[in-house]
């Protein structure tokens, strides 16, 4: 599994190198690999399909423009892309009167929900790993993570929302990340 994981990154970095040379086909390949995840993340943050589409488009345009600013020392291409998406979504959330953009939408069925049962074993295992790791968090810790990452709130804003001291929020956030690290990392000897 580890060997497979490391095989993914060279593919992504090669795509970025080709994008730096102006190869549109490389951007299309990157889109094919990550559009679903980017869109899912964007939708989670902005909560509106049309805005999420804007974030999706903006993310890949920014990845095209910023391909030569990607710093391999800072992490994987996939995380770099998710960072662009997440930050773009949070910026959009903060810059527009969000409530005014929402339309009356009935609850729609999710086409993929039933299909998840037949997802590949690797996807199921990975989803299970993250889901199980998140399940080790207390409700307050999970809220801290979600408000920070998906909500785009600073620690001070979260403290204000929850009427708790900033120090408490920072400790809770750090404890939550440490729990996730222990759940996902190698066992301590």
């Amino acid at each position: 599994m580890g060997a497979g994981a490391e095989a993914e990154e060279p593919v992504d970095r090669e795509l970025l190198r080709r994008m730096q040379r102006g190869e549109e086909a490389a951007l299309e390949a990157l889109y094919a690999r990550y559009a679903g995840l980017v869109y899912t993340l964007a939708l989670r943050v902005v909560g509106d399909g049309e805005l999420a589409r804007e974030v999706l488009q903006d993310t890949f345009l920014r990845s095209w423009d910023g391909a030569d600013s990607y710093d391999a020392a800072r992490g994987r291409v996939a995380w770099w892309l998710m960072g662009i998406a997440r930050n773009g979504a949070v910026d959009l959330l903060r810059s527009r009167p969000h409530q005014a953009r929402l339309r009356e939408q009935g609850r729609l069925s999710q086409a993929l929900a039933a299909a998840d049962a037949s997802a590949s074993p690797a996807v199921a295992i990975a989803t299970s790993a993250i889901t199980n790791a998140l399940a080790t968090l207390s409700p307050a810790q999970r809220a801290a993570i979600e408000l920070a990452y998906y909500g785009g709130l600073t620690q001070t804003e979260i403290a204000r929302e929850l009427n708790e001291p900033v120090g408490t929020i920072k400790s809770r956030t750090r404890d939550a990340m440490e729990r996730l690290r222990k759940a996902l990392g190698p066992r301590d000897r």
């Binding site: 094919a32 690999r33 679903g36 488009q57 345009l61 992490g75 995380w79 809220a143 990452y149 600073t154």
Partner: protein, 264 residues
């Protein structure tokens, strides 16, 4: 660098990786990371976790013509496509564009690659390449345009419930901005036997109580619950949690264990 200063920065690293610091706080951490390999290592570990968080989300179908729109926007732009933009490398919003060359340091590259060998993270990373392929196949085979369920999102409303009958219990409800979905974080309730369940109620101003969720708590009295909000909170006069016979009641039979005084 004093030990106190280092501890202060260390306290902010998780928030930094999540993109949850103010600009001033970020700049302070950035300055420290330039000189502290321990903290830089910690950030690298946190970045791997943050990067994987979206995999826990329920997948949503990207729009069918998404790539066409990207390509059209790319072709329509007047600027040279190779003009570099200052884009954040990740959620911590460091804005210094840097060339992705070996000069960034083989040791720093190895740092996150070593972390990527953690078994669970490795599984996550392999799945990334397959995740989108699975979605694309579904998209191609779907006979109708995909529909996406509204996910919980940045909280539009926050409701705090205190223990009316359980002083040590509390709950926080985060209602999404669309007003119909949300999550509830509970603590301090006792685990129930199989035949019983906790139930969240919203009582409209001129109608009977409506159920928002039924749930149990873990051995530590905690739960994280997805809830349904059938109507606007502006039309609700009471919100509370009761204990009911499993799998839940049509109308609340138990006494309110947790109740909200007010909400905004």
């Amino acid at each position: 660098m004093t030990a106190d200063h280092h501890d202060d920065i260390a306290a902010d690293l998780a928030a930094y990786a999540l993109g949850s610091l103010s600009a001033a706080e970020r700049a302070r951490v950035d300055a420290h990371l330039a000189t502290c390999t321990d903290c830089a290592d910690q950030i690298a570990r946190y970045r791997e976790i943050v990067g994987a968080l979206p995999l826990a989300l329920v997948p949503a179908m990207p729009p069918r013509a998404g790539w066409d729109r990207v390509r059209a926007a790319l072709h329509a732009r007047a600027d040279a496509p190779s003009r570099p933009l200052s884009v954040p490398a990740d959620a911590d919003e460091s804005h210094a564009p840097r060339r992705a060359t070996a000069r960034t340091g083989g040791q720093r590259v190895v740092r996150w690659a070593r972390i990527a060998r953690w078994p669970a993270i490795a599984a996550v990373l392999v799945a990334l390449g397959m995740w989108n392929v699975v979605l694309e196949r579904r998209l191609a085979s779907s006979p109708a345009p995909p529909e996406v369920e509204a996910l919980s999102r940045r909280p539009g409303r926050l409701v705090i419930l205190q223990g009316a009958e359980r002083p040590n219990a509390s709950a926080r409800i985060f209602v999404a901005v669309d007003g119909h979905h949300g999550h509830m974080a509970i603590s301090g309730l006792n685990p129930l036997p199989r035949a019983r369940t906790y139930q969240l109620w919203f009582v409209p101003k001129n109608a009977p109580a409506e159920s928002g969720a039924t749930f149990g708590v873990d051995a530590r009295g905690r739960a994280w619950v997805t809830i349904t909000v059938a109507r606007s909170l502006d039309d609700v006069r009471a919100i509370f949690v009761t204990e009911e016979p499993a799998p839940g009641s049509r109308r609340p039979a138990g006494k309110p264990l947790l109740a909200a005084d007010a909400w905004r």
